[in-house]
Symmetry: C2
Subunit: 219 residues, 2 copies
């Protein structure tokens, strides 16, 4: 069904409901229900009396994006250096956030994120190991979100918390700023459906990074 829409240009007309009825030999209500799903997803747009059309993509601001995607949107080149990638046992905080038991095996992945060559952010990601068998033994992926997607665990939504702080001494060197400079601390709990897929804590250089959020409108 969605293949009918996949490659079409925004604004171009979709087949009419009655057309699909005769084409597939199903009832019109059935066609409507199938199309309803695409309308809700924002792929189709119905105009009474005129027809059904491929919708213009809605604003993508509040969609969940990876660091790489986010920097691409800013026209910056994203790079990452892995500082640490190992198996650990979940401490109390991470265990609670991941909705697992304390002491269960997790993957801890720390990366320095660069943008246009200069440090932007220091990120610690924590993942439930049992969801990602063999993750550390294979080559580490370029994009964590892509790797999750390949396992059917693409985050569909996230709970983020953001606050301001002063840069700690142990972070300053990595970020190439002075201790005491302003930083933005960003925590994310990323979920795929009901499953907590990843928890992360990031420290962004405030002089290079402003977070943009769109609120109260579809993604």
């Amino acid at each position: 069904m969605r293949t009918l829409v996949s490659g079409m240009a925004p604004g171009s007309p979709a087949p009419s409901e009655r057309e699909l009825v005769s084409q597939f030999g199903v009832a019109r209500m059935t066609v409507r229900q199938a199309m309803d799903a695409l309308v809700v997803e924002g792929l189709l747009e119905r105009i009474p009396g005129k027809g059904t059309f491929v919708a213009r993509p809605r604003r993508t601001a509040s969609a969940i994006t990876s660091y790489t995607e986010e920097m691409a949107r800013r026209g910056m080149l994203a790079e990452s250096v892995t500082l640490l990638a190992r198996r650990e046992q979940a401490g109390p905080g991470v265990a609670r956030a991941l909705a697992i038991s304390e002491g269960e095996p997790i993957v801890h992945w720390r990366r320095l994120r660069r943008a246009d060559g200069a440090p932007m952010c220091l990120e610690d990601a924590y993942l439930t190991e049992s969801l990602l068998p063999g993750f550390l033994h294979a080559q580490l992926p370029t994009s964590l979100y892509d790797a999750l997607e390949q396992r059917g665990l693409r985050p569909t939504w996230a709970e983020d918390s953001i606050n301001a702080d002063l840069c700690h001494g142990d972070e300053a060197g990595h970020l190439d700023i002075d201790a005491g400079a302003a930083v933005l601390r960003h925590s994310r709990r990323a979920l795929s459906g009901d499953k907590v897929v990843m928890v992360s804590r990031s420290v962004y250089r405030a002089d290079r990074f402003t977070l943009w959020v769109q609120i109260g409108r579809d993604a």
Copy 2:
């Protein structure tokens, strides 16, 4: 239809579809469509094989909220002191954000926001005066969003930007923190439909405030 749900406790069962069919003498598809709307709105929840139930209110994180509402959600008492409320001419930055011409009259409203008695945030709100005739001559409202709502200008969505900074000297006294302490700077462009209704810049004490955002899921 929605009166069937209005006063009911979350989790309590709604009448079954077939029950409503015989009660109202309509077809089941009709009942389903009416209920579908409520399900999409998040008022009802269907559980196959069990029934339809009044949904627990979904997380409201990505709905646009006022300061007062936000603090209430944190269980804190919100208060505001007006530091400045006057007519000004739009400077270049505010004019662009409000989508008006430079020099057009605006309302500038500066408030110190308190929570549980202590300073939390310093907010400068800018509004297009022509949208709010007589705003400054009447008594200033307790809630800006309520005042906008009464004029049919309740913000339905907003573009926010958030970054970290160090507290400036002129802000420190109001916020009762030291200059150089970490603060969260929050800018908002609030829209009602296509109309820009308000632009604001806020400075939050980082030691008292963490922003929570939910991304990629309905409000």
